[in-house]
Amino acid sequence: MSSMDTSNLTREKLTAMFNEDKRFDGRKLLDMRDFEVEYGVSNMAEGSARVKMGKTEVIVGIKMGTGEPYPDSQDAGNLMVSGDLLPLASPRFESGPPKFPAIELPRLMDRMIRESGMIDLKKLVIKEGEKVWTVIVDIYPINDDGSLMDAASIGCVAALHNAKFPGLTEDDRADYKNRTDKKLPLSGETMPVSFTFYKLGDNLILNPTREEEEACDTKVTFGISKWNGKYMVNSCQKGEETVFKRAELERIMEILPGKYEDVMKKLKSYIK
């Protein structure tokens, strides 16, 4: 976004187009790009998914192992979300210690998944207080053309639904040679997805390309799901220095459920 070199010309052109509810690729401001989900990214992973959304491509893999429960949750399994913005995926990503966007992506996905309650972590206990399953979600972009966060959220949900437990050895360790058909304890109803709203001037846009992202002033990400028949916002994070006004936030809250249903319709067709 602001840190990248977007020419003033691009910004001006985009602003003029956004004012008329137009975009370079023919979408309206709040139109999403269509997406596809594929499975079987790695046969060594317990579950995996690839999401393609326009030219943006993200892969998500699930690994499971056994370990000790955290001191503050003896009666629940562990969830970890991690990932990296690989220099493979964009000339803008660099090797070395993770920069802020590489930290923010998995942290926001973690909060969205955890808070939605889509995984019943209590069903991941092997021996209470001693041994539990740890579910690790790893996110890697393969090609970044914007909206990595939102594509990753679809990938996380798909990969979690794709995952199957490895076997368990006699001493309670994961047995990767004897895999099972048992799926993770996931809610049938609750599937969170994230939507990042970008702002350029007074215009709000959804699902930007990299070029649009870089021209925008600020963004705010919301994770939303359905729980006991109600829409629930599970996570939120505003980025960059520009403010969001009250009226803009209220408008986003009105838009969210409809957009969620649109994505769900497609995503559910991929989840068996």
Partner: protein, 231 residues
């Protein structure tokens, strides 16, 4: 109120606030801000020459924020040094404060804001932002307004103001929602928005209303503490 708060507070009642300006004599500006048992200290150094030089901006000074927990501020000792959590909070705090300040008169400089949590009972980032905003004012940095911050939230279906640790860990019904916000005090412009939990989109307005009211109260408190420093 459907759910009683463990602390006995009303749903819209803030914890007892304490604030003091000028607590770090070496700094150009400093302040302590407390929400109940959460204690944050902030110091401002600058505008001063920015190193490394390649980060300098000839058009404006820049703001640089560091937030962290002191090792003994939490039950399980926090390993000193930056974590993913503190890196994230430092960045969102920087974004929360930046809209209030204008550093165009100080090209090539940096204003460093150091925030440390001495004692943590939830709401550390919001207490830190309140302390930092006061410290910036104390340092005489040109500001549009103070930034005022609070975590509103929800336990089961009850909206609450100024979430404490017990409430953050609430598990009944719809569970706990933590919704830290910051805003330019006398505006409808929000500079920090984070959330985790479960809140229906149609109740967002209600939560923001509660946050706005609480922020007014905090703003008066910040101003009072800032006036006391000169006396």
């Amino acid at each position: 109120m459907k759910v009683k708060r463990a602390s006995g507070r009303a749903w819209n009642e803030l914890r007892k606030m304490k604030a003091k300006v000028g607590v770090v004599p070496n700094a150009d500006g400093s302040a302590i801000f407390e929400f109940g048992d959460t204690v944050a200290i902030a110091a401002v150094y600058g505008p001063r020459k920015l190193h490394p030089q390649h980060m300098q901006d000839p058009a404006t000074g820049i703001l640089r924020v560091n937030y962290d927990l002191l090792s003994f501020s939490v039950a399980d000792r926090k390993r000193p040094g930056p974590s993913r959590r503190s890196t994230e909070i430092s960045k969102v705090t920087e974004w929360a404060l930046a809209p209030a300040i204008d550093l165009e008169a100080f090209p090539n400089t940096v204003v460093d804001v150091q925030i440390y949590i001495i004692q943590a009972d939830a709401g550390t980032r919001t207490a830190g932002i309140n302390a930092a905003s006061m410290a910036l004012a104390h340092a005489g940095i040109p500001m549009r307004d103070l930034i005022t911050s609070v975590a509103v939230g929800k336990i089961d279906e009850q909206i609450i103001v100024d979430v404490d640790k017990v409430e953050e860990d609430y598990e009944g019904g719809e569970g706990a929602t933590d919704f830290p916000i910051a805003k330019l005090a006398r505006s409808d412009e929000y500079t920090l928005l984070q959330l985790d939990g479960k809140i229906p989109p149609e109740r967002f307005k209600e939560a923001l209303d509660a946050a706005d009211k609480a922020c007014q109260e905090i703003y008066e408190f910040q101003k009072k503490a800032l006036k006391e420093v000169g006396e």
